[in-house]
C-alpha cells in the first residue's frame, strides 16, 4: 500500500474533529507539558505538518500495567487519536495480527523507516539466561538489540524498563535489567512509575511528536517535566506534616481527617513523580489522597527500600514556624534509614535545584529515636 503519511491535523480533520477542538487540544497539551502559552502556536504547527511517527512497542518481563495505564489517558482526544495516530505498528496487547503476521509488522517498519521509528519498551530484559523471556523463539535481548540498531530513540515505559522493577528486586532470580543497561548508543527516556501516570505517558508522546526532540531529562533519564518534584513537596497533605499532624495507625482519627502519612511509612519525601500535581485517572486522586502512604514506585530499587510500613522515628520540636524546606529535607534524610545512600545525595541535589541554594547547604539530620 502506498504510504502517504498524513499529518496529525489531516488525520483528525478526517476524523471529524473541528479546528476549534484541535486548537483546544493543542492548548491542553501545552498546559499539560507546563509550557508558556506562546508555545501553543508551535504545537499547532507541529501537529498540522508532521507525519505520524512509526512506533514499535515491545513487551518483555512485565505485567502490561504500562499498556493499561496508557489506554487510560484522560482526554478522549488523547486516547482516541494520539494513541492510534502515532502509527502504533507493533503492540502485542492491541494489535490484530498474531504469530508470523505480527512479527512481519515490526520487521516492515524496521525495513521501511530506518532511523525514523521509535522503540517503546515495557518490561525488563533477563540476562541470567536469555531463555527467561522469548517471543517467536527469539530472546528479548536479541529482539531489542536488532530493533534498536536503526531506531531514532527509545522510550522505556515504567519501572521495569527504566530500573528493572519487581523482578529485579533481591535476589533478582532472572538477572532482570532495564533497557539502558542492555543497549547503548541511543537516547533512552525513562518514564518512571509502576505504572507511569497515563497523562504523563501521553505527555511524553506528545512532546516527541510536537518538538521533534526528547524532553529534558534528569540524571536518571526521567523527563524533568514530570519527575523533578518530590511527591512530598507537591502533596496536598504537606501542611499537616509541617504542623506535626500525623496518622498514627490506619483509620484512626488522624486518618479520618487526612493527616500526614509520614509515620505510616510514606516514601513521598524520597520519591520524584507527578502524583500530587497531575494525579491519577483524570485527576481523581492519588495514593496519599486515598489514605495509603506512597511506596515510591517511580524510584529505582524501591522494592528493596522497605518494608513499606516501617514506622519512622518521631520528630520532636518542629512546628509551622520552622521552614518547610528545612524540615522536608531533614526528614528526607531521616527516611533514608535503610534507603540506598544515593537517594540522600539526590535529595540534597534536588533541594538545591528547587531553592537555587548554594552548594554548601547544610542538611539537618534529626536524631533516630
Amino acid at each position: 500500500m502506498e504510504n502517504k503519511q498524513p499529518s496529525f491535523y489531516e488525520e483528525v480533520k478526517k476524523d471529524g474533529i473541528s479546528r476549534k477542538d484541535f486548537l483546544k487540544f493543542c492548548a491542553t497539551t501545552a498546559a499539560l507539558l507546563g509550557l508558556e502559552s506562546s508555545s501553543i502556536g508551535q504545537i499547532v504547527k507541529a501537529l498540522e505538518t508532521k507525519p505520524r511517527l512509526p512506533v514499535i512497542w515491545f513487551h518483555f518481563q512485565e505485567c502490561t500495567c504500562c499498556s493499561e495505564s496508557f489506554i487510560r489517558a484522560s482526554h478522549p482526544i488523547v486516547a482516541n487519536i494520539v494513541l492510534d495516530k502515532i502509527s502504533l505498528d507493533y503492540q502485542e496487547t492491541l494489535m490484530a495480527a498474531s504469530g508470523a503476521q505480527a512479527e512481519d509488522a515490526y520487521k516492515a517498519v524496521m525495513a521501511k523507516f530506518p532511523g525514523e521509528y521509535i522503540v517503546m519498551v515495557e518490561g525488563s530484559i533477563p540476562t541470567e539466561n536469555e531463555a527467561y523471556c522469548c517471543i517467536g523463539g527469539r530472546s528479548a535481548k536479541q529482539i531489542l538489540e536488532e530493533a534498536v540498531a536503526n531506531c531514532k530513540a527509545v522510550v522505556a515505559w515504567g519501572n521495569c524498563a527504566s530500573a528493572g522493577c519487581v523482578q529485579a528486586a533481591s535476589p533478582n532470580p532472572t538477572g532482570a535489567k532495564p533497557v539502558h543497561k542492555v543497549i547503548s548508543g541511543k537516547p533512552v527516556i525513562n518514564v518512571q512509575g509502576c505504572p507511569p501516570i497515563a497523562d504523563v505517558m501521553a505527555g511524553v508522546v506528545v512532546h516527541l511528536l510536537t518538538f521533534d526532540r526528547i524532553p529534558q531529562l534528569d540524571e536518571l533519564s526521567r523527563p524533568k517535566a514530570f519527575y523533578s518534584r518530590r511527591v512530598h513537596d507537591t502533596c496536598y497533605r504537606r501542611a499537616n506534616f509541617d504542623a506535626g499532624l500525623f496518622v498514627e495507625s490506619f483509620d484512626d482519627e488522624g486518618a479520618k481527617r487526612g493527616y500526614c502519612l509520614y509515620k505510616m511509612g510514606c516514601k513521598g519525601p524520597v520519591t520524584y513523580n507527578s502524583c500530587g500535581i497531575i494525579k491519577w485517572n483524570d485527576g481523581i486522586s492519588y495514593p496519599i489522597q486515598s489514605g495509603h502512604p506512597c511506596i515510591g514506585c517511580s524510584e529505582a530499587g524501591f522494592w528493596d527500600n522497605g518494608p513499606f510500613y516501617q514506622h519512622l522515628p518521631s520528630i520532636e520540636g518542629f512546628g509551622i514556624e520552622t521552614t518547610a524546606d528545612k524540615i522536608g529535607l531533614g526528614l528526607g534524610v531521616a527516611t533514608v534509614v535503610g534507603v540506598a545512600a544515593h537517594a540522600v545525595v539526590t535529595n540534597v541535589r534536588k533541594h538545591r535545584e528547587i531553592t537555587n541554594a548554594p552548594e554548601t547547604t547544610e542538611v539537618e539530620t534529626p536524631k533516630d529515636k
Binding site: E62, C65, G99, G137, Q142, A153, V166, A300, G306, Y309
Partner: protein, 573 residues
C-alpha cells in the same frame, strides 16, 4: 500428513504465549501451549514482611490489576486470623466488581472482537442499515445514520493512509468471518467507544485505592477512611461518584455489550457453539461475600467443582487439603527436590528454575520434554477449566435464580441448547452474562455501604493484628479469589514474622499449563483439538478459541549505582 504450525506471539493477551498445533486434513489433531517468560516473584517474596506482599504480587499482572493484591491480603488475614470490617469487605467487593466490568468489556471489544469482526468489511457497510439494526437492538443513543457514517469515514481514511498501525496484517477477508458489513460497522464503532469508556469505571479504584492500574490494598481492611464531614476522606462527593460510575457501567453493559454479544453470537452459533469445548471439568472458588469472607455460602458467586459436565452435582473444594490442589513440573522448566513427577500442595511448593529448552533463537520446542514456564495444577488429579464459563456453570448448577435467569433467557434468545455453553462461543457469552450480574451486585454493595455509613458505621480497618508482635511464631494461610480470568489462590507460610514460602496458583496456570505426568492435556491444549482450520498459515480459528479464555500469562508464570553515560538533552534525535 501432519503439518506443525507455530503461533508466537499470541497477541491481544497479557504476557507471552506460544502455541504449536498439528493440523491433519484441515483439522487440529494436537496442540501445545507454552508460557515463554518468567520472573520468579515467589522467590523474591521470601524473607519479606507479609504485610508488603500485596504490592509485590499486585505486579504479577497489570491487566487483572488489584486481583492478586486482594488475594494476598486475604491470604495474610487467613494466616493471622484477621476479620476485616464490613465496610472494608464492601469496598473490596466494589473494587473487584469494577475490575470485572472493565476487564470483561475490554476483553470483548479490544482483545477478542477482532477475531469475529472484520474491520475492512465494515468499510462496505451501508450506514443506514447499521443505524437501523443498532436502533432495533438497543436504546443506546449513539446510533444515528450520521454517527455510523462518520465512523466509517474515519476508518476509510485510516486504511487509505497506508499506516495501518494496530490493524496491520490482520486476517481481514478470511472465510471464517461471518458478520454482515453493517454488524461489523456497529462493532467497530463500539470498539472505539469501549476503549474510551473503560477508563471511567476504573475510577472506582482511584477513589478507594488511589490509582489504577495497581491500586493500594491493606492487610486488615482498606487504606481509605470514611468521614462524611471531611474533605480528606471518603465523603458524600466521593460516594456519589462511585454510584454514578456503576450506574453508567450498567447502562453501557445493558445497552452496548450485551446487545452486541447476542448479535454477533447469532451469526456464529451454528459452528462456534460446538467448537472449542475442551475439558469437561469446571472449577470456581466463588467470591463476593455478603457476610464475611469466611462464609462461602454467603457468596454472590458460589464455590464448587463440576465433573464430566454433570450439572446435577457440585463437588466441594477444600484448598487446605494436601490431596486436592497439587502442582506438577514434569513438563515445566522447574525442578522439585522430590522429583518432577511428584505433585506438591502449594504450601509445600517449590520454585527452582531448570531451563532445559533450546537456546534462543529456536524454531520449535521439544514437546517430549519440559516446554513451558507454566506449572501444571490439578484438582484431585483432574485438569480443570476455570473462568467465566466455569463460574456461570457452577452458579447455574447450584440453582441460583439470578444465574438461571440470565442463562436461560440467553439460550432462548439464541435458540440454542444448554450444550452450546460448552464451546468457544459459550465461554465468550458467559463472560458477558457475568458482567451483567456483576453490575447489579455492585449497585447492591454500594447501597449497603451507604446504609452502613448512615447507621454510623464508618470503620474500614481492623488494627488488632497490625503489629508483628501480635503474630504467632509461625502461621499458614490461603487466600482464594475469583479473578476475572478464573480461580486464583495464594498460599503463604509465615515464620518469625517473615514470609517463608509464598506460592500462587493462578487462573491461567490452570488453563494454559502443559501436560501433566499422566499425559493429560490442560484446557487450552484440549480446547483446540478438533478445530477446523481453513488455512494453517493464518491462525484465526486458533486465536478465536485461545482468546475465549482471556489468557494472562504474566500471572501464570511464577512469577543503582549508575555508571552508564546518559544523554540529558538532544535538540533533535
Amino acid at each position: 500428513m501432519a503439518e506443525r504450525i507455530v503461533i508466537d506471539p499470541i497477541t491481544r493477551i497479557e504476557g507471552h504465549l506460544r502455541v504449536e498445533i498439528e493440523v491433519n486434513n484441515g483439522v487440529i489433531t494436537d496442540a501445545y501451549s507454552s508460557g515463554t517468560m518468567v520472573r520468579g516473584i515467589e522467590t523474591i517474596l521470601k524473607g519479606r514482611d507479609p504485610r508488603d506482599a500485596w504490592a509485590f504480587v499486585g505486579r504479577v499482572c497489570g491487566v487483572c490489576t488489584s486481583t492478586h493484591s486482594l488475594t494476598s491480603v486475604r491470604t495474610v488475614e487467613n494466616a493471622l486470623g484477621i476479620s476485616v470490617p464490613a465496610n472494608a469487605e464492601l469496598i473490596r467487593n466494589l473494587m473487584a466488581n469494577a475490575l470485572y466490568i472493565q476487564d470483561h468489556v475490554v476483553h470483548f471489544y479490544v482483545l477478542h472482537a477482532l477475531d469475529w469482526v472484520d474491520v475492512v468489511s465494515a468499510l462496505k457497510a451501508d450506514p443506514k442499515e447499521a443505524a437501523s439494526i443498532a436502533q432495533s437492538i438497543s436504546p443506546w443513543p449513539k446510533s444515528s445514520v450520521g454517527y455510523f457514517t462518520d465512523i466509517q469515514k474515519r476508518f476509510k481514511n485510516f486504511v487509505e493512509s497506508g499506516q495501518l498501525g494496530i490493524f496491520a496484517n490482520g486476517y481481514w477477508g478470511h472465510s471464517a468471518y461471518k458478520l454482515p458489513p453493517a454488524i461489523n460497522l456497529i462493532a467497530v464503532a463500539h470498539y472505539l467507544e469501549a476503549l474510551e469508556w473503560q477508563k471511567e469505571i476504573v475510577k472506582v479504584h482511584t477513589i478507594f485505592g488511589g490509582k489504577n492500574p495497581h491500586p493500594n490494598y491493606l492487610v486488615g481492611g482498606v487504606p481509605c477512611s470514611i468521614n462524611i464531614e471531611e474533605a480528606n476522606a471518603v465523603n458524600a462527593e466521593r460516594l456519589a461518584m462511585v454510584g454514578k460510575l456503576f450506574e453508567d457501567a450498567k447502562t453501557f453493559v445493558d445497552q452496548v455489550y450485551i446487545p452486541d454479544l447476542l448479535a454477533i453470537a447469532s451469526f456464529y452459533k451454528s459452528d462456534w457453539g460446538a467448537i472449542g469445548g475442551g475439558l469437561s471439568n469446571y472449577m470456581s472458588f466463588g467470591d463476593f461475600p455478603t457476610n464475611g469472607y469466611n462464609n462461602p455460602e454467603s457468596f454472590k458467586m458460589p464455590r464448587g467443582v463440576i465433573l464430566n459436565r454433570d450439572l446435577s452435582k457440585i463437588h466441594e473444594i477444600k484448598a487446605d487439603d494436601p490431596e486436592q490442589i497439587q502442582e506438577y513440573v514434569n513438563n515445566s522448566w522447574y525442578e522439585y527436590s522430590k522429583g518432577d513427577k511428584t505433585g506438591l500442595h502449594p504450601w509445600e511448593g517449590e520454585t527452582k528454575f531448570n531451563y532445559t529448552g533450546p537456546k534462543p533463537p529456536y524454531e520449535h520446542l521439544d514437546f517430549t520434554q519440559k516446554y513451558s514456564w507454566v506449572k501444571t495444577p490439578r484438582w484431585k488429579g483432574y485438569p480443570m477449566e476455570v473462568g467465566p464459563l466455569s463460574r456461570m456453570l457452577v452458579g447455574y448448577a447450584s440453582g441460583r435464580e439470578d444465574y438461571k435467569e440470565v442463562i436461560e433467557s440467553t439460550l432462548r434468545a439464541l435458540d440454542v441448547p444448554v450444550a452450546a455453553l460448552f464451546s468457544t462461543l459459550g465461554r465468550t457469552a458467559a463472560r458477558g452474562l457475568e458482567t451483567k450480574l456483576t453490575c447489579d451486585w455492585a449497585l447492591g454493595f454500594y447501597q449497603q455501604l451507604l446504609d452502613n455509613i448512615k447507621n454510623g458505621d464508618t470503620s474500614t480497618m481492623n488494627n488488632s493484628k497490625w503489629e508483628p508482635e501480635s503474630w504467632p511464631k509461625s502461621a499458614k494461610g490461603i487466600g482464594m479469589v475469583e479473578a476475572p480470568r478464573g480461580a486464583l489462590s495464594h498460599f503463604i507460610v509465615i515464620e518469625d514474622k517473615k514470609i517463608a514460602n509464598y506460592q500462587l496458583v493462578v487462573p491461567t496456570t490452570w488453563n494454559a499449563s502443559p501436560r501433566d505426568p499422566a499425559g493429560k492435556r490442560s484446557a487450552y491444549e484440549e480446547s483446540l483439538i478438533g478445530t477446523p482450520v481453513a488455512d494453517p498459515k493464518v491462525p484465526l480459528e486458533v486465536i478465536r478459541t485461545i482468546h475465549s479464555f482471556d489468557p494472562c500469562l504474566a500471572c501464570a508464570v511464577h512469577v543503582y549505582d549508575e555508571n552508564g553515560s546518559h544523554i540529558h538533552e538532544l535538540k533533535t534525535y
